[in-house]
């Protein structure tokens, strides 16, 4: 074989050659993707632990669970975060599309939007959800401050001056919060809320790091029509974070 001098103008994605033990780049890309899917399946089974604990206690204490969900959590915040995560999933798909078309600018823009969405998600989570809960003693397990929560609830109820006629109407409107009384197992509900959302939040954080890494590689021209395997895998990871949230959101915030 001839050994021509290397073409300095080749971009990294054009010059990409597979690792030594792969027969060709297609095999390598498919193998990497299969590996990623296997990793995602471990993620799903990891979260299955939370879902199983959730289902178990929900079946034990259905009313308590339902009321706690409506009282302690704001569905507006959850819904906003869901929408943001869906948007970020969409933009990362567009980033991959940009890579397939060799459009580095669009790729960076879309990855940037994804990063902003992830940051938005985390800021909302920490600032608007975690912090007020920490302040009010709505913490998991034995950290749950029943006296403080009861006192707070009593104060809230004192402020609701509700004529009898209004309450059924409020119920019809689904405003369970107005009749809520803290239950005996709120601390377990909040335990599951905290550990599952914190684990999910940790995955979002990890996602931000890997998306940042993908942005750096995109900036350095590592992704192009013929090679964007790791970008695709980052996308897969990000989508699974999204899918887990799709399930966590209604379970924790809505029903």
């Amino acid at each position: 074989m001839t050994s021509a001098p290397k073409d300095k103008e080749l971009k990294p994605w054009e010059a990409y050659i597979p690792q030594h033990h792969w027969r060709n780049a297609t095999d390598e890309a498919e193998g990497a993707k299969l590996g990623m899917w296997l990793f995602l399946s471990t993620e799903v089974l990891l979260f299955a632990g939370f879902f199983c604990a959730y289902a178990f206690f929900r079946l034990l204490y259905p009313e308590n669970w339902h009321d706690a969900s409506r009282y302690y959590l704001d569905w507006e915040i959850g819904a906003a975060n869901t929408a943001v995560l869906l948007l970020s999933s969409f933009t990362i798909v567009l980033a991959i599309r940009a890579a397939q078309q060799g459009n580095r600018g669009m790729m960076l823009i879309h990855l940037g939007i994804t990063q902003l969405c992830a940051a938005f998600f985390l800021i909302v989570k920490l600032g608007w959800e975690y912090w007020p809960k920490i302040r009010d003693g709505k913490l998991p397990g034995i950290f749950f401050d029943y006296p403080a929560v009861y006192a707070q609830r009593a104060a809230e109820k004192a402020m609701i001056v509700a004529p009898d006629a209004i309450i059924p109407a409020a119920q019809v409107a689904g405003d369970y919060a107005s009749t809520f009384t803290p239950g005996a197992h709120d601390h377990i509900f909040l335990s599951i809320y905290w550990i599952s959302t914190a684990t999910h939040g940790f995955h979002v954080l990890v996602g931000m790091f890997v998306i940042g890494w993908a942005m750096w590689k995109a900036y350095k021209w590592h992704y192009g029509p013929r090679h964007y395997t790791s970008l695709e895998n980052v996308g897969l990871y990000w989508h699974i974070v999204d899918i887990i949230w799709i399930f966590l959101f209604p379970l924790l915030y809505l029903v």
Partner: protein
Amino acid sequence: MAHHDVSYLAPKETFLKTVMSWVYTIDHKKIGLMYLVAVLLMFFLGGVAAMLVRAQLWEPTRTVFVSEDGSVYMNPAEAPEGERDSLKTETRGIFFQPITTYVSRPAVNLLSGSTVGAVITASQDGSPSVSLPESDGQTSNPLNIALTDDGSPIFTETTDQRGNKVWELRRENPDSDEPGPVLASITVDGRGNPSAEAGSGLSTRKTTIREPGSTITTNNIYNRMFSLHGTIMVFLFIIPSIPAALGNIFLPIMIGAKDVAFPRLNLMSWYIYVFGGIFALYSVIAGGVETGWTFYTPYSTTTDWGSVTSMLLAAFILGFSSIFTGMNFIVTVHKLRVPGMGWFDMPLFIWALYATAIIQVLATPVLGITLMMLVFERMFGIGIFDPALGGDPVLFQHFFWFYSHPAVYIMILPAFGVISEMLAVHCRKRIFGYRAIAFSSIAIAAISFLVWAHHMFTAASPVANVIFSALTFLVAIPTAIKVFNWIATMYKGSIAWTTPMLYSAFFLFCFTIGGLTGPPLATLSTDIHLHDTYFVVAHFHYVMMGGTVLAFIGALHHWWPKFTGKMYNEFWGQIAGWTVFVGFNVTFFIQFFMGTQGMPRRYATYSPEFELMHKISTFGSWLLAIGFLIHLVVFAHSVFAGRKAPRNPWGGLSLEWETESPPLEHNFAREPVLTHGPYDYDTVVPPHYDPALYPLPERSDNAPSHH
């Protein structure tokens, strides 16, 4: 030309470079070899714990009568007439004496009515010291103790009636020369354990600095030993033993690949294993766990003893190592088979590893989340598993066994794989029912997820028990099929009784016993009686040790020439094999009878009626240890003085026998071409094997080997 044409074991130019070539290696063979050394080390550690467990059970812990000259009597009447009055009673087991003091710093806190106090401490040899409270920068003496010029308190040293050394701290008596009342005293007994007492009649109170775990009884040491044995053997030895060590070395070679799919992930898996191992060893050093390897709540959430959290984190981390290995193997098998190798051209070891990898990937994450939740439970009291907070301990058992039951198939499936390989090679026979064995591996992997609650027949609800009992029997069928196929493979073979073949036969013997004692445990009413007794212990060891460990040792001999390039001593290998086999059966067979007689497991002591059986079992464990030590010597001898191994010492047909011994850095000089299946012993003379030594059967066309 390039240096990847030399053996993977070949040293580099300098020693440092050689070391670095192992530290940074992404070569699956080096990683596998490092795994192998590590798991053997762990096997040794877990084995020592097992020996101590059996030693403790040599005889029950009893009250004995000790005379002044140290003679021991079971009954005071046995003592000579004159000594009977002075007999002291002592509780003793054969091996572990009760240790009453763990922390060597007993202290007496002398509170003098106000908040200021002084702490008197003694070191292990009993030498006392007092720290007095500081006030206004000067040492005050609220207790009126006689002080020396430099301010240190004066102790008077005496001896009590028993001859123990006693240091006394007395209140100063300024009015007369008579010593004042005793404030506190420190006594050091014959064994060197200091104990401190506050004097009576004073406004003092006794506190002894009792750090958690300050009293260790015989039982407690025993409990740590069996927990140590369980955790080490399960998480650090048996799960990585065949897949991560031998699988890593041979899976790519046997499918003709240069490496596993993700070599860097493979290296990461190894370092994660080391990292997890460090956590586990730290836990052992920091006091060990006494929860058993199952970590049942609420025991594990409430025990203050030892370092449970560290062990939980260790198992959590080791889980990732296992997951990464599994992912790697699945992708490797899917994508890196040599051209022409279809799924049914793969050696059965690969099928077994593939089935194992499926379980590793699907089950291990649940263990991860379970242990994380348990760590949270211990640290933050989240109340999911802790009944005191409204949680449910049975939920924990479900979580735990959802992983840990499939985990026993992670342990045994690779053993099935190596047995298929060894039997075919050493019987020189096409494996009987190739597809049945291959599919039964996958079937076992699938069914293993359906049966976990048979570990909970005394805990779960009756409805669930009936469902799980039925599902449990499903897993017995593919397992039975495998055993029948292996025996059928021997039919009309040309059986060479080498050490690997010997171990295959031992495996068939022990695993059949282990398998056949499964149905009484899957059947509900008999399991209720046998649950948590020695019957379970014996069954488990017949499957795990008689199955996996014997297969592992056999596989080590089978592939030893290949991955080390040296032959081992056949004669001593077989001697050691027979010792292990006899020792194993002596140790564990008697335990079936203990179990049906109702001897519960995890007992530090027991009723005297079980004594003979326990003695036999303990005796067997010594034989077992001797057998393993002979193996160790044989391997060491082979490494240092073994003769060079040929490429294909057994006449095997799978691809690993085509390459050099030890293999090249990239396994093959050039990509191998598949010309025959792994079990075509009827028609093909194995590569690199003397055709004169390999007569082919009459009817075949005596096709020459492809070389």
